[in-house]
């Protein structure tokens, strides 16, 4: 019963996450950008834009320029989350890929760094008046949700351990549609529930910044408006309509 419920929960959560993100990405990709609006100085070649985007996504360059504390906590959280996610691949691969096995010890540290980063961000959200002013309840809840995921994971590692072998069997079972029983440990169930909630809210929340950043015209456009005429499809139609004017 419990196994079936969680199996279904994760199937649904995965469908919502993937379906929702695909829908948003399709929408972003198909919404025209009528004018050239890169924030300049901007790269004048496609290669330059790729470099700019990589620096933005990997190093959070603009945020670094803006505010060193927010950058520190934000970057720490995201980098740690990436390591933690990669560490979790061991629950979904059999045999475990060698690089995943190698990085296991770092994954533990990353768990702490992730929680520390989130706490730092939350402290700023509560105690810096400017940031408190712009925060909606959902902004606090999102931090609470991520902290819940991180803390419940750490607790499982150090306090309330679960049957990790059975859990792995459950995870692999999800992938191969061959369900195996899920251990009924409260901490594990809490961790999994929070993760599923996170997956479900992802496509309808500000977590859309993950795909969104790649579609930001301010960052992804090439600065070449004089060399190459840029025209959106709807503007082309408009132009055809006003053809008499020119």
């Amino acid at each position: 019963m419990l196994t079936a419920a969680y199996a279904l929960l994760f199937y649904v959560a995965t469908l919502i996450l993937v379906g929702g993100l695909c829908r948003k990405i399709w929408q972003y990709a198909n919404t025209p950008a009528p004018l050239k609006i890169p924030t300049t100085p901007a790269p004048v070649t496609l290669g330059g834009v790729v470099v700019r985007m990589v620096r933005e996504v990997v190093l959070f360059e603009s945020l670094f320029k803006a505010n060193k504390w927010t950058w520190l906590f934000g970057w720490m959280f995201h980098a740690a989350l990436l390591v933690v996610l990669m560490r979790h691949l061991r629950y979904f691969t059999e045999p475990v890929w060698s690089w995943v096995a190698l990085m296991q010890p770092f994954g533990i540290y990353a768990g702490f760094a992730m929680v520390a980063g989130l706490l730092g961000l939350w402290v700023r959200r509560i105690f810096v008046p400017r940031i408190r002013f712009i925060s909606a309840p959902s902004d606090h809840l999102m931090l609470a949700l991520l902290l819940g995921v991180g803390v419940s994971g750490l607790l499982m590692k150090y306090v309330a351990r679960t049957d990790i072998v059975a859990l792995k069997a459950f995870c692999l079972g999800l992938i191969y549609f061959d369900w195996k029983p899920l251990p009924a440990d409260p901490m594990l169930l809490a961790h999994l529930t929070l993760v599923a909630v996170l997956m479900i809210v992802f496509p309808v929340s500000k977590l859309l910044h993950a795909p969104g950043v790649f579609f930001s015209p301010g960052r992804n456009q090439i600065d070449n408006p004089r060399e190459k005429r840029h025209l959106a499809p709807w503007a082309t139609r408009l132009e055809a309509g006003t053809g008499g004017k020119r």
Partner: protein
């Protein structure tokens, strides 16, 4: 080199950091509103005369339409995570402390309505995500605070997703226009351009008379016949410049500078009376159609006058509209000489000539000036000059260093891509908004005070008509003379040595510094 007549600012008490973050003062600027456009002004540019009865539904529909037409707007409204990176970046926030002048809070005025009507979370859990119904109060807030944004894009530099408040405020203004709540200053001016060809409503006869006067002035000062031709068919170059260059100080000294450069380069050039305006206020109100209609005047004038090149004069947003948008809005320009960029900036043109050694300067003519340079926002963050990214910073500075001996930059975090708006951009250059304009100028003025204390700087150059007008107006509030703002090509004009220039002593050398006409001390130029 002895410094003569260095003027220190009158007001010395404000030594504050230009980037100092004020404490929050909610609502202090909520009464700042521009005059509303009259029905005639509205209708003349394709909008309803007054607030329509079903304004709410139409505003929401328009928002949906705009989100569907602009990837930037859609992504910007979706992706903000409220990290706060932008909260201390807007000059209007730094100057007023009103939290709704924090870029993210300004965006949220529109975002909360977008969320309410267009997102799952906002439709079903509005309280959770700060979504709100569109009400009259919200519309009032829009009208007030989207007219306290100069669309300078400083916030977008610092946003980890490049969210551009300028795009959001343009969209908000277009929505308000489309339901009949437009702004008088912008909309009246756009109407004048459609009808007459420039922001001032200056007719061809008046333009010709003005330019003839300038020709006489230049000849009186230099003894050289420098021409400022109008509508000369077959000229190589068409100069498109902000109409303020024809009248206002210090703009007109810049125009004299362009004319001298063209003259010295032996160029054949002309001004068009039909496209006698580089400014494009259609951009400020986010109206693609109006922006295009204005841009198409430039295309038509270029075709009618059979010119080979288009060069823009000194104007900030006009250069963004020219550099970034003209090709899109009114291109392709395949009928022009493809050896030159279309359009080209007058600074690119002058800089090229300097590089080739084709201009001679007597830099000592500017020795009474200790200069700094204000990067205009739209040039800095919305355009480029030359081949390389950042040319928009280097080329103006290279020109200024070539024509004067005493040049000093303001603090690094207030120039180049981090430059502050003058406080009057984005369609706010109107008297009823003087309070927000003056407060918004504070960061730039403090940076200027710093460089004037550290290096005795007396003057600041700019290449934007709005910056020049705004600074001339607000500088006295901060202890500077109103003529402490100069045009780049005014500096060029002072120093350039024309062939055949007379070298006798100037009769009425009344100046301690630069004042009215540019030629006061050019007479000593050639020896």
């Amino acid at each position: 080199m002895v410094e003569l007549n260095i003027r220190q600012p009158v007001r010395q008490e404000d030594h504050s950091d230009p980037l100092e973050i004020p404490s929050l003062s909610p609502g202090v600027m909520s009464e700042s509103k521009p005059y509303q456009a009259s029905p005639d002004h509205q209708k003349a540019i394709g909008f309803p005369g007054e607030l329509v009865d079903d304004w709410k539904e139409r505003a929401i529909d328009k928002l949906g339409e705009l989100v569907g037409k602009s990837r930037g707007l859609r992504v910007y409204l979706d992706t903000c995570v409220k990290c706060g990176a932008c909260t201390d970046k807007c000059h209007y926030f730094l100057g007023t402390g009103d939290p709704l002048n924090m870029p993210v809070a300004r965006q949220d005025l529109l975002r909360k309505v977008y969320r309410r009507y267009f997102t799952f979370a906002g439709k079903y859990f509005p309280w959770l995500v700060g979504a709100e119904d569109l009400t009259e109060d919200v519309l009032d807030e829009w009208y007030s605070y989207f007219h306290q944004c100069s669309q300078c894009r400083r916030c977008s530099v610092y946003c980890p997703y490049g969210i551009d408040t300028a795009e959001v405020s343009m969209a908000a203004r277009e929505i308000m226009d489309s339901v009949g709540k437009g702004q008088k200053y912008c909309n009246e001016i756009i109407g004048k351009v459609h009808k007459i060809g420039n922001n001032l409503g200056l007719q061809k006869k008046a333009l010709e008379a003005t330019l003839e006067d300038l020709e006489e002035d230049i000849e009186d000062e230099t003894g050289v016949k420098v021409q400022l031709p109008v509508d000369q068919k077959g000229a190589d170059i068409m100069l498109v410049t902000p109409s303020a260059d024809f009248f206002a100080e210090p703009h007109v000294d810049g125009l004299i500078g362009y004319a001298k450069v063209f003259h010295q380069a032996g160029a054949s050039w002309t001004i068009s009376s039909y496209a006698s305006e580089a400014a494009n206020f259609g951009m400020f109100i986010g109206s693609y159609e109006n922006m295009q209609e204005i841009a198409l005047r430039i295309r038509k004038a270029a075709i009618d006058l059979k010119v080979k090149r288009i060069i823009f004069g000194e104007c900030g947003h006009a250069w963004r509209a020219g550099y970034s948008f003209l090709n899109t809005l009114a291109g392709p320009f395949d009928f022009l000489d493809q050896d030159y960029p279309v359009p080209q900036h007058i600074c690119e043109y002058t800089h090229d000539l300097i590089q080739k050694g084709e201009l001679t300067f007597d830099k000592s003519q500017n020795d009474d000036i200790r200069l700094t340079y204000h990067d205009s926002c739209n040039v800095a963050r919305g355009s480029r000059m030359g081949d390389k990214p950042g040319g928009q910073f280097e080329i103006p500075r290279a020109i200024l260093r070539a024509v004067c001996n005493h040049y000093y930059d303001m603090p690094a975090d207030t120039i180049r891509e981090s430059t502050f708006c003058c406080g009057g951009g984005g369609g706010l250059l109107t008297d009823e908004l003087l309070e927000v304009r003056t407060k918004g100028a504070q960061p730039r003025m403090r940076a200027l005070q710093q460089v004037s204390e550290d290096h005795g700087v007396t003057h600041m150059a700019a290449l934007c008509a709005i910056c020049k007008t705004q600074f001339a107006k607000v500088m006295p509030e901060y202890g500077f003379e109103m003529d402490a703002i100069v045009s780049i090509h005014q500096m060029v004009s002072n120093a350039i040595v024309l062939d055949g220039q007379i070298s006798e002593e100037d009769e009425d050398d009344e100046d301690e510094t630069r004042t009215e006409t540019s030629g006061d001390d050019t007479n000593e130029g050639e020896e």
